[in-house]
Symmetry: C2
Subunit: 336 residues, 2 copies
């Protein structure tokens, strides 16, 4: 009898994720059935949206059911297959669960190419979700033009670091917003952003007035709350807002949204557009080719924040909401 470890959602969090909301269990795995694959999970992706899936708020997929394995992005190796689409030993990635052994019918899993010069966590932590999110959100919705000013919040996070670098490739002046001097230093010195604002140390609005006195053309929005409001108030005419996330609100017990900026949107003729990366699924090939090319040429660098131990995933996921991660947050579940 094989066993596996898995996190199951036992209770919907009220506010911050609390002990007992998720339960870590060891359980036996039934014999593999026709059409199934067993995947040894190497890395688990932790993403802001995890908190949304734990809740029953309005969302873009069904929430995780109570008692069900917690949903998450994974990369791993097929260790057993009774599904002709997957060979044993193959590297696969996709939507799975917080477990070390994924039992799947293959739906939502794709073969993951192994590229020389790009490690598994780097490839998974770039091409899996955050790279395409940055790519489509910035290029399709943001419509960056040379000389424009792009602001990206959560700039040292998984998506933000890529948004800023693509913005630079497109000729934009890029200002990142991040928490702490080290992250700010990183996005400017290592990634080539033009400037960074440490929201923990300075007033974001005042910093924008200094760094972008003419205003902001594109606000790649990931956080919501007062940081979003500070940027929105400084948008230029015909500005664009790819609305990618609202992480500051995900742990709210009673959702109090920032005031509408309807008059501002009207008078400055802004475009606000919400999106989820899967909206662009039919164009994924184009995106992955561009991202891989930029990475191999050294034009886009990505940083992963790899934490050890599936049994601590409930602790690591909270880093996302406190700003404790630095780069794309992954959990190493099994040794490569």
């Amino acid at each position: 009898m094989m066993t596996r470890q898995v996190w199951r959602l036992q209770r919907r969090p009220r506010g911050d994720i609390a002990d007992g909301d998720l339960e870590f269990v060891e359980e036996t795995v039934p014999e593999i059935a026709e059409g199934q694959v067993h995947v040894r999970v190497l890395y688990l992706s932790l993403d802001p949206t995890n908190r949304i899936w734990m809740s029953d708020m309005e969302q873009y997929m069904p929430p995780v059911g109570l008692g069900e394995p917690m949903r998450g992005g994974i990369v791993g190796r097929v260790v057993k297959s009774r599904n002709p689409a997957f060979a044993e030993g193959e590297l696969v990635a996709g939507l799975g669960a917080w477990t070390d052994l994924l039992v799947s019918d293959g739906a939502g899993l794709q073969h993951m190419p192994e590229l020389p010069g790009i490690s598994i966590p780097q490839a998974f932590g770039t091409f899996g979700v955050v790279g395409p999110t940055a790519y489509f959100g910035l290029l399709e919705i943001g419509q960056p033009k040379p000389g424009e000013t792009l602001v990206v919040s959560a700039a040292a996070g998984g998506v933000g670091q890529i948004v800023g670098q693509i913005g630079k490739l497109k000729g934009c002046r890029v200002i990142g917003i991040a928490g702490g001097a080290e992250k700010c230093r990183y996005v400017v010195e290592e990634l080539g952003f033009d400037a960074a604002i440490d929201y923990k140390a300075e007033d974001v609005g005042a910093a924008l007035d200094r760094l972008a006195p003419e205003g902001v053309d594109i606000n790649f929005e990931q956080v919501g709350g007062p940081i979003m409001s500070a940027v929105l108030g400084r948008m230029k005419l015909f500005g664009r807002v790819p609305l990618c996330g609202l992480i500051s609100t995900y742990n709210a017990t009673d959702l109090v949204e920032e005031p509408g900026r309807w008059t501002l949107i009207l008078m400055r003729r802004l475009t606000i557009r919400g999106f989820i990366v899967t909206d662009f699924a039919p164009r994924m090939g184009e995106c992955l080719q561009a991202l891989a090319g930029w990475m191999l040429e050294g034009k886009v660098k990505t940083r992963q924040d790899i934490r050890p131990g599936l049994d601590r995933a409930d602790e690591w996921v909270k880093l996302l909401y406190s700003g404790g991660n630095f780069g794309k947050l992954l959990v190493q579940v099994s040794p490569e």
Copy 2:
């Protein structure tokens, strides 16, 4: 010595327009200077944006200066010209002032063709501002597709009536929101909307649940406030919101905007885009050709609400904010 009548802005309104905010004066007109035209104004267009121009809120043009003639759209005949671009007797339209005799250097005035079968107030009240606003807002931002559900607020007003009819031409199911049984009857029976909601007599949200249980694809937004909120809450995935106006807020003494719907915009991947008709100025020819064609074929009808007397313009303009007009509001300033 010639004289003219003119409304001058004496004080910025606080809340509703009050006596003394605008002053009606008779004044002498200096001899025409080189480059100028004198235009006998036939009709003055009164539009929701007039209240914005009276204020010093953030807006898309400079506000009207205190002591200056009140700005407004006009159509009239050139009675004197020392500008080679304009011939005496010619019909012109454009941005002018609340006056019976416009003194202009020609900037913002265009020659207006006289079309057989379309009266001057009908042409001016359709092609001047409201037609292009409806055309570009719906077609460019709304992106209507056959079978989609389109909701338009202020449905019996200048813009709304045209939006709904173009929506029908594009194969949409069109629901108008208007105040009073007569306007609702009009948009359904005379203009061919599929349904209308009388916001003075029924709860807009409940009516939408009944009339559009699947939700709304396009919300052509003109009013803001609780009516906007009712529609936004019922948007479908990938819905579009051409944000054309927020008339319910223009008389507010302290701007309290509707709550942001940031989570909704994100999860349903809505597009919200503010616009002003002049944003589409380079494409005006295409629009006027399409509108005139539809009108001459009887596919688009427009209704004007023509009130007599320039001296009562301050009274007529208030109809816009109380919902007292029925069709595009014009003032007959001089006999044709």
